[in-house]
Amino acid sequence: MPTTTTVPGRTKHAKGILGDELHKKLGETKVLVVGAGGIGCELIKTLVLSGFINITLLDLDTIDLSNLNRQFLFRTTHLKKPKSLIAASVASTFNPLVHITPIQDNITDSDKYHVEWFRTFDLVLNALDNLEARKYVGRMCVAGGVGMVESGTAGYLGQVQPIVGGVTECFECVEKPKGGKTYPVCTIRSTPSLPIHSVVWSKSYLMGQLFGVDEDAGTELDEAEKQGENAEEIANLRKEAESFAQVRAAIRSKPTTTPAARMIFDKIFNTDIKRLLSMSDMWNHRAKPVPLDFDRIMQETEVGNGEKEKESVALKDQKKLTTKENLELFISSVSALSARLSPSSPSSSEEETKETVIEFDKDDPDTLDFVTATSNLRSLAYGIPQKSKWEVKEMAGNIIPAIATTNAIIAGLIVLQGVHLVAAKLGRSSAGSSASSSSNALTSTTTTNSDSSSYTALRNIHIQLKPSVPLSAITTSRPNPACGICRDVYTVVRCDPLRATLRDVVQGVLGPTPISEFTIFASAPSAPSATRILADPDWDDNLDRTLGSVNVRCGMFVNVVHEEGVWETISVGIGGLPPGEGWYGGNGSGSGSGSGSGSGSGNGNGNAEGEGEGIPWLMLPDPLPRLVVKKEEEKKGGTNTPPPPPPPVERASLKRGLDEEDDDIELLDGDDNNGADAHPPATKRRKTISNPPPSTPPKHQHPTRPVFSSPSKKRKLEEDGLVLMESAEEVLDDDLLDGRENGGGEGDVIVID
């Protein structure tokens, strides 16, 4: 590494506070920072000034104007450039000693960012804005035995959570509520009563019908029908959906026929509403909508609101539009969007640059105009207050306000917790210079052997609105014994998946324990709940097939679940072989039954040099993972009811010890999230736990969710950012502390009512 010099006094203060030994250790720590956004910019700055020198910074995004109020490493000259690169280069100027390696990429790419990769770091710091990536990094760090700090901000609020697998709660020990609110389908489609209903209708339904993929929209209604919804209403909605074909064609005709906007308008704001009105019993207890008249609105001479609002400060987009202005915006946005669409049968090569599908994007002005105009017109028809473009952007774009101060505070707290984690490895407290002597570094190969006493300095910290305690620091909780992520025993097998068989890997890891006692699943780290069964005690056909032939690639996990529930699940991360020479697992011969190694050793090719009986394309962990007995209370009800095939993590006890310190502490409300994750929520936390809850552990809501269950429509909607709920009663809490900085990835939630 290039050694750059700096003035010797630079580190005087940091050394004065940390002591020389710990300060030196920070410099040797390999840190991964995931995210170079709001928290990330602050974090990188604070890290390089604190004494961390060896940093890898990963972010997928590019820089946007709306970042500049807080992401202080970026300037207007950097717009559209990759955040990771700019942040790395700017922050490097703060301290010439640091080496920051920027990566512009998606952290959830398990081909590249697998357990082995995470294991090359000593400390992982999350500065993320979405739940999926948070879960991914959380799992990888638990699997790899790497200490990490999780974080999040939203507006004035934020939180920091240090995580050490087996010692503290992991990111998923407490179920995270999904973002977004839930709206019943029929409320959105036929009986809106709030501005947000109109916005969701426009963005998620109308945009898709007009500019999305041509599809049969009936499935969602089938579902609603199954749920016993009003059959007549559904039949009506079906008719409405079918008649979209005509307007879709009009939008795509070339040249765009002038009346396309008119056609759409008449259909959705007149005909469809009249059809709904014809179902008189729907309106017995509701205000009737009023069909809109295109020509009448055009003749309107209502004066704009601009004059009235003059005295109060407002941005241009914050002004409410008149009905006529809305209609004009509707016409212009339809024509702008139509012009961007390729016609149904592309004729000239010029058309290739055009789009086939246009989806709502809050930063795409045409789509924002369209959603603003159509949602306001719908609101007008239903007698709902209208919204400005500014408000619609926030509602439809799920924008979460974000400020520099919160991010700076959270970043500072992350670094302090990170320093505690480094100090814990040194075996001393991080503050003051009275160092107890040297290290007894913890091994990081398993997640269960850590000496938790080294971690007593760790705190979960929240920024609160409570005036007397703006930063609440509470001791970390023990792992949830029923957690489906961090209670597994993790290990890594490096191999060539095209050569190593399932038996090689699993029996190799199990050592002398017979493979026939286990059910074996495959899962991807990004979706540990979507497990796929590979073998069980009565079905061993796949055992002698290669991993590749059963679709297990590097980066995936093989979950080895004890049939009788005596042992904790062993999750085997599949890693690729290191580049270069073949390698013989030191413990490669450890497989108790000879069949594993026997199946492959015959035709080892070129790389097969060296000694021992190992297979050249298989590196077993050394030492092998220990089988860990499940805690008594967590065992399944007995051996007489073997549940075939159990999801890897169905554990029974949901009791949870209460820390004495926990009284009077506000906790996040965990909320079950409709089974999108097959790992049942371990505990439901209550606000202000003051007494132990009555000893009736909540039942699992969905203990044995079928592995491949999601109906296609549901999946499709989920991809669209919509989440279907099982019932209208299920309400998702909007959780401020969820920590999404910009909610781009989080969708609205629709319940079939």
Binding site: T6, K316, G412, L416
Partner: protein, 330 residues
């Protein structure tokens, strides 16, 4: 800057924060001139935050040169700035953070003299003095009170940090977060703040055990002890020889303030020891946290939205916790 319409650039740049505190708050910030005294770690962070947020004008006062150790928490400085005036080294980099903010620098402390300070203060909307000693803070606070200007002070001592503010009679709007989002409700509030001089005479007698504990009295009295030590010795503690005196001062303060004896009768020796050894040092994460809290509070005060600190915040970097005591105020 004129109080006219917001430009496209302002709208784009400030979008995510206007959605938090509203356009009126943004307008008030844009119209504000802030005086910040002394550019060390806490001020560096505070300035970064209020300039990014879009105040109108910053007046930055510091007479000192950049020292090597200032590079530890001072990201406005580079190696070759050592020996230059701090304000000269930092000015362009501060301006760079947000071209919409005006930055004026004053490379001497003459403006702090009794007579000058009054006229300086009259030309600004809010005063923020960082890393300053107690006796002089009392003096400057009195002048600010005379001119009816909100007064903030803040700083760090190793892993500890504090913020004190005197906002005189402060009116603000407190959004009622329990009301549904579609019908936001707000409550108009008014709070009267005491001077620093009066705040220092605070007695803790009325607090219950639990209330006392929540305020983390050990850090509060460690900081108050540092202030008194500095007042007596004209310097901060710097080594083992100062531990005894600091301990004595801290315990005397605890007893004078009549703190609930079930909670604390003496400031833990380990804390006094570590504070003694680290008080002269600054650490970037602690500066980021204290500077973040300080800047956020300044912005709340300017915006006249959200309850500000009332009136003495202490941060303890050992735990990461911060608490706020009401010193001589109800």
């Amino acid at each position: 800057m004129a109080s006219g319409e917001f430009t496209e650039e302002e709208q784009g740049r400030y979008d995510r924060q206007i959605r938090l505190w509203g356009i009126e708050a943004q307008q008030r910030m844009r119209n504000a001139t802030i005086l910040v005294v002394r550019l060390r770690g806490t001020a560096t962070e505070t300035i970064k935050n209020i300039v990014l947020a879009g105040i109108g004008k910053l007046i930055l006062v510091d007479a000192d040169d950049v020292k090597e150790e200032d590079l530890g928490a001072g990201f406005f400085f580079r190696d070759d700035d050592v020996g230059k005036k701090r304000v000269d080294a930092a000015k362009a980099r501060i301006e760079n953070l947000n071209p919409l903010v005006t930055v004026e620098t004053v490379p001497n402390f003459n403006v702090l003299n009794n007579q000058n300070f009054e006229s300086t203060v009259n030309g600004v909307d809010l005063v923020c003095i960082t890393e300053w000693d107690r006796d002089d803070l009392v003096r400057l606070n009195i002048i600010c009170r005379r001119s009816r200007k909100p007064f903030y002070s803040g700083g760090t001592y190793g892993l500890l940090g504090y913020i004190f503010c005197d906002l005189l009679d402060h009116n603000y709007i407190s959004p009622d977060r329990s009301s549904p989002k579609d019908v936001p409700k707000s409550i108009q509030m008014k709070v009267s703040y005491p001077s620093l001089q009066d705040a220092l005479r605070h007695r803790w007698s009325l607090l219950s055990k639990r209330q006392t504990k929540e305020l983390n009295p050990a850090s509060v009295f460690a900081i108050l002890a540092l202030w008194r030590f500095q007042s007596i010795q004209k310097r901060l503690p710097i080594g083992a020889q100062d531990v005894g005196e600091l301990q004595q001062i801290a315990d005397a303060l605890v007893s004078e303030a009549d703190v609930n004896k079930q909670v604390i009768t003496t400031v833990p020796h380990s804390l006094i020891e570590s504070v003694t050894m680290t008080a002269v040092h600054e650490f970037s994460p602690v500066c980021a946290i204290v500077g973040g809290l300080l800047a956020q509070d300044i912005l709340k005060t300017l915006a006249a939205r959200e309850p500000p600190i009332a009136n003495f915040l202490t941060f303890d970097g050992n735990t990461g916790g911060a608490s706020v005591c009401k010193l001589s105020m109800s």
